[in-house]
Symmetry: C2
Subunit: 496 residues, 2 copies
C-alpha cells in the first residue's frame, strides 16, 4: 500500500513535469519563433497549462497520498518525497485569491515600469510597486510558517533551496570588505597597462552564429539535443533532452553573442547532465537558480575567459573573422573581456563589481519585505547605497532603482542567486583544478571535457537531492566559501 502510494505520487509528479516541459517549449517558441499575432493565444495556452499543473499539485487526493507515501530506505526516494511535500506546501500555503491578486498586480506594475524606466520617472510606478510589495509581504508571511523559514528566506527558497539570508549576509559583508581593498588596486593596475584594442567589424551575423554553434559544441553541447536560435533577450530554455539556447547578434561586436552563448551553454550542460533515472521527478531537477548560475558562470567566466582558453580562442577568432592580428592576441582579449570599472548598470558590470550591485539589492529587498524600507524611500536608499558601494551616484532612477525588471514583476529573493552562483563557480573551479589533472591544458585546446566530466559527477548528477550549501559541501568539501572567488579575482585582476 505505502510503496504503491509513493509510485502513484511519482507518476503524478511526472505528469505535472511533462506539462511543465510543454510550457517550457511554448515559452521558448514565444520568444524565438512566434509571430506577434500569436501572443494573446499563447498567453492563454500557458495559463491553461499552468492552471492544470497547479490543480494537479493541490488536488485533495495529493495531500492524502503525500501523507501516506513511504519512500523506503533509498536516499534518492527519501529526498524526492521530501521535495514533493515541499512543492505541495509551497503551492497550498498561498490562498488562491492572493495568487490571483499577485498575478494581476505584477502584470500591471511591469507594464507601467516599462514606461517609468523609459522616462526615468519612479513616481509613475511607485503606487504599482507599493501594491506589488504589499502582496509580496503577504505571500512571504503565508509561506514562512508553512516552510519553517523567515519570510524573506521563504521567498529565496522559491528560487534556491538550502541557503538563507543569515548565511548570505556575512558572505556579502566579507565581499564588501574585500572590494573596498581590492577594487582601487585593480583599477590602478589596469590603468597602468595598455588599453585594449577592439577588433574591427563588421562581423556578419551568419558567421557569428556558425562560430557560436562550433564553440558551444566544443564546450560539450551536442546538437542532437540542442538548438541555437535568436531572440531579443538571450536565454536557455527547453527540456533536458531538447535544450533551446538563444542569443542576438550585433554585427559591430561579436563578443556579446559569443560570451552569451558560452554562458547559456553552461546552463544547457547542467540540464543535459541531470540524472536521467530521475527525469520528471522533483529530485531530478536542477538544484536551483544559484546552482544554475554557477554552471553558466563556470563555463563563461571561469573556463572561457581563462588565459588558457583565450590562448586557443584568439587564433580561432582571427581565422573566423580575419582582420588585425593584434586585436585577437590572447592578452588583448583578456584586457577586453576582463575589464573592470564602476558603473550604474548591473547587467553591464564586470565580475568584480557585479556582486556590489547584487548586495545592494539584497539589502534593499530584505528591507522592503520586512517593512523597514518604504517603497517611497527606495530611490534615495538606492542612491545612497550605490555611493557607499562604488562611490558613484546614478544621474537618474532609470540608471538606479528602475533598471531591473525583477521587483516590478514581483520577484523578490532572486537577486542573491547571481552572486551566490559566481562564488560557487569559483569554488567549484578551484576544487576541479585540485582534482582533475590537465584541466587547464585542455582549456588551452578549447576543450572543456575534463572540467565537464568533473561537474557532471559532482554536481549535475546530483539533481536537486541537496540544497545549495550541502551541494557545495558534497562537491568541494565545504559550504559556500567566498574565499575561492576572492582568490580568483586576486589572481586575475591583481596578479596575486
Amino acid at each position: 500500500m505505502t510503496a504503491t502510494a509513493y509510485d502513484h505520487l511519482a507518476a503524478r509528479f511526472a505528469r505535472i513535469a511533462t506539462i511543465g516541459e510543454a510550457s517550457a517549449m511554448l515559452g521558448w517558441d514565444a520568444a524565438a519563433m512566434m509571430p506577434p499575432g500569436g501572443a494573446a493565444a499563447r498567453g492563454d495556452q500557458l495559463a491553461v497549462l499552468a492552471g492544470l499543473a497547479h490543480e494537479m499539485l493541490i488536488a485533495p487526493e495529493m495531500a492524502v497520498a503525500l501523507e501516506a507515501a513511504d519512500p523506503g530506505p533509498d536516499p534518492w526516494r527519501v529526498a524526492n518525497l521530501a521535495l514533493m511535500r515541499h512543492a505541495h506546501r509551497r503551492a497550498t500555503a498561498l490562498p488562491p485569491d492572493l495568487v490571483e491578486a499577485q498575478a494581476r498586480a505584477n502584470s500591471a506594475c511591469e507594464k507601467v515600469w516599462r514606461e517609468a524606466r523609459r522616462t526615468a520617472d519612479f513616481a509613475l510606478v511607485r503606487p504599482y510597486l507599493a501594491e506589488v510589495v504589499g502582496l509580496v509581504r503577504q505571500a512571504a508571511a503565508a509561506l514562512a510558517p508553512a516552510l519553517g523559514l523567515s519570510p524573506y528566506d521563504a521567498l529565496m527558497d522559491g528560487f534556491q533551496r538550502g541557503i538563507g539570508a543569515e548565511d548570505v549576509a556575512p558572505v556579502f559583508a566579507a565581499y564588501e570588505a574585500f572590494l573596498t581593498e581590492a577594487l582601487p588596486r585593480a583599477e590602478q593596475r589596469q590603468a597602468a597597462g595598455p588599453a585594449p584594442l577592439r577588433p574591427q567589424g563588421p562581423f556578419p551575423a551568419a558567421a557569428q552564429e556558425a562560430l557560436c554553434r562550433r564553440l558551444s559544441a566544443r564546450a560539450g553541447l551536442d546538437d542532437r539535443h540542442a538548438r541555437l536560435d535568436r531572440s531579443a533577450h538571450p536565454f536557455c530554455g527547453g527540456t533536458p533532452t531538447d535544450i533551446r539556447i538563444t542569443t542576438r547578434y550585433d554585427e559591430a561586436d561579436f563578443a556579446q553573442s559569443l560570451l552569451g552563448v558560452l554562458h547559456e551553454t553552461g546552463h544547457a550542460l547542467y540540464e543535459r547532465g541531470l540524472p536521467e533515472e530521475w527525469r520528471r521527478q522533483p529530485v531530478g531537477e536542477a538544484a536551483g537558480m544559484a546552482a544554475h548560475e554557477s554552471q553558466s558562470l563556470i563555463v563563461e567566466m571561469q573556463a572561457c575567459r581563462s588565459d588558457a582558453y583565450l590562448s586557443w580562442l584568439g587564433p580561432e577568432l582571427r581565422a573566423t573573422f580575419g582582420g588585425d592580428e593584434a586585436a585577437y592576441a590572447p592578452a588583448n582579449l583578456a584586457r577586453l573581456w576582463r575589464r573592470i570599472g564602476r558603473g550604474f548598470i548591473r547587467v553591464e558590470a564586470d565580475e568584480m563589481t557585479y556582486p556590489a550591485h547584487v548586495i545592494l539589492r539584497f539589502r534593499l529587498e530584505r528591507a522592503l519585505v520586512s517593512g523597514d524600507l518604504a517603497v517611497a524611500d527606495l530611490p534615495g536608499a538606492w542612491n545612497e547605497a550605490m555611493a557607499a558601494a562604488l562611490g558613484i551616484t546614478p544621474p537618474d532612477d532609470a540608471q538606479g532603482c528602475l533598471q531591473d525588471i525583477h521587483w516590478y514583476d514581483g520577484a523578490f529573493g532572486y537577486f542573491p542567486s547571481y552572486t551566490l552562483g559566481a562564488m560557487a563557480a569559483a569554488q567549484l573551479m578551484a576544487a576541479a583544478r585540485r582534482e582533475v589533472s590537465g584541466l587547464d591544458a585542455a582549456l588551452g585546446q578549447g576543450d572543456l571535457a575534463p572540467l565537464l566530466g568533473w561537474l557532471r559527477s559532482r554536481l549535475h548528477a546530483q539533481g536537486s537531492r541537496l540544497g545549495f550549501n550541502d551541494l557545495l559541501r558534497a562537491a568541494t568539501g565545504k559550504p559556500l566559501d567566498p574565499g575561492d572567488f576572492q582568490a580568483h579575482l586576486r589572481a586575475r585582476y591583481l596578479g596575486e
Copy 2:
C-alpha cells in the same frame, strides 16, 4: 441554470481547445524545429496533453452538463451545443481498452510498414495491417450506433461531417465515366502540343524561400499571424492566430516548394478566416478535412494554376531566378504544371487522374471495413482496380497498396476528402466567378483578394456550423455537384 450550464460548457470546451492549440504548436515544433534527441520527451508531452483533453471531454460531469444545457434560440449556439454533444458521443462511444489497443496496433503497424514499403514486401506488414483493420472494424461498429451512421460513415465522420458513402459513391461513379471518356482525349491533345521546357536551375533555397513568402503574402496571408519554415513533409499547422506553414526546397526545381506553399497558404487562409467570436468552440473550427482541402486546392489548383495567374507569375519568376525567358512563358508554365499522365503514385498524380487513385482507395477501404475484402487479398484487389481505372499495373506493392501511410496508421475514411475537396474547390470557384466581378482580372495581377473576400464570407466565416453538403449548398446553391469539377477539367485539358 440552463443558460449557465451552456456557458459552463463553452468554458470547458475552450479549455480543451486551448490544450489542443498547445499540442498543435508542439506538433509543428517536432516537425520543423526539434532536435532528434527531443523526440521521446515530445511524444510524452503530446500524449499527456491529449490525455488531459480526453479526460476533460469524457468526465462524468460533462455528460450531465451536456444534457442540462439549453443553448437558447441563436442558431450558432444551437449548432455549437450539437457539435459538443457529437464530440462527446464520439469520445465516449469507444471503450478505453479499444482506444489503447488501436494506438498500440497503429504504431506497431506503421513502423513495420516503413520497412515493408522500402522492400516492397506486403507479406511483412500483412499481419500488422490485419490487426489494425480488425480494430478499425470494432471501432466503426462501436461508433455507428452512437452516431446513427453506418460503420464506414462513422469513420468518415471523424474527418468530415455531413457527407456519407451513399452520397459519395454515385459522384465517384460519375467521375469514372467522365474519366473514361475524357482522359484519352486529353492525352491526345497534350501529345499534339509542344513539350514543356523545364527552367534551368540551380534555384538557391534562400531565393525560393523569399519568393514563397512573397507569393503567400500576396495571396493574403499576413506575417503577423504566420510563419514559413522547413520540414521533411510540408504541412500547415499552428492555430488561427499563429499559423505555421512548412515546405522543403529542391534547388533543382522550385515548383515543388512554390506550389506546395500556395497549397498550404490555402489551408492557412481558411484557418485565419474562421469566425473569431467562436474561437475555441466546436462551431468555430474548420468544417472538416474535405472542406479544408477545398481551400488549399482552390488557391493552388483553381487560382494559382489558372491562365490569369500564370500570366502574372511567369515574369515574376523570371525576375527572381533569371535564365531562359521561354521557360517562364505563361503558356509553358501551364504545360509544365498542368501536365496529365497515368502513374502509380497518388501524391504525384495530376488533378485529372488524382480522383481515380482516391476512388480506388475508397472502394477498397469500404470493403476492408465491411469485411468484404480480406487483408490478404488487398494487393491483388489493388492491382486489378488500378488496371481497370487507369489501365496500368504496379510493378510491385511499393508502387501499389503500400504507397500511402494512411491505412497502416489506422486512418480509414480519410481518402475521399482529397477528391471531395477538389470537386468542392471547382464548385466554389465557379460560384465565385459568377458572383464576383473582376476575379480573373485580379488573378492576372497575382491578386487573390476578390476570391478570398468571397471565400471568407461564404465559407471561412461559417466555421463548422454546417456539414459538408450543407456548407456547399449555402455557399453555391447546391450540394456537391461533380459537374463543376468536370467542366473545369474540360476547359483546362480539352479546351471545351
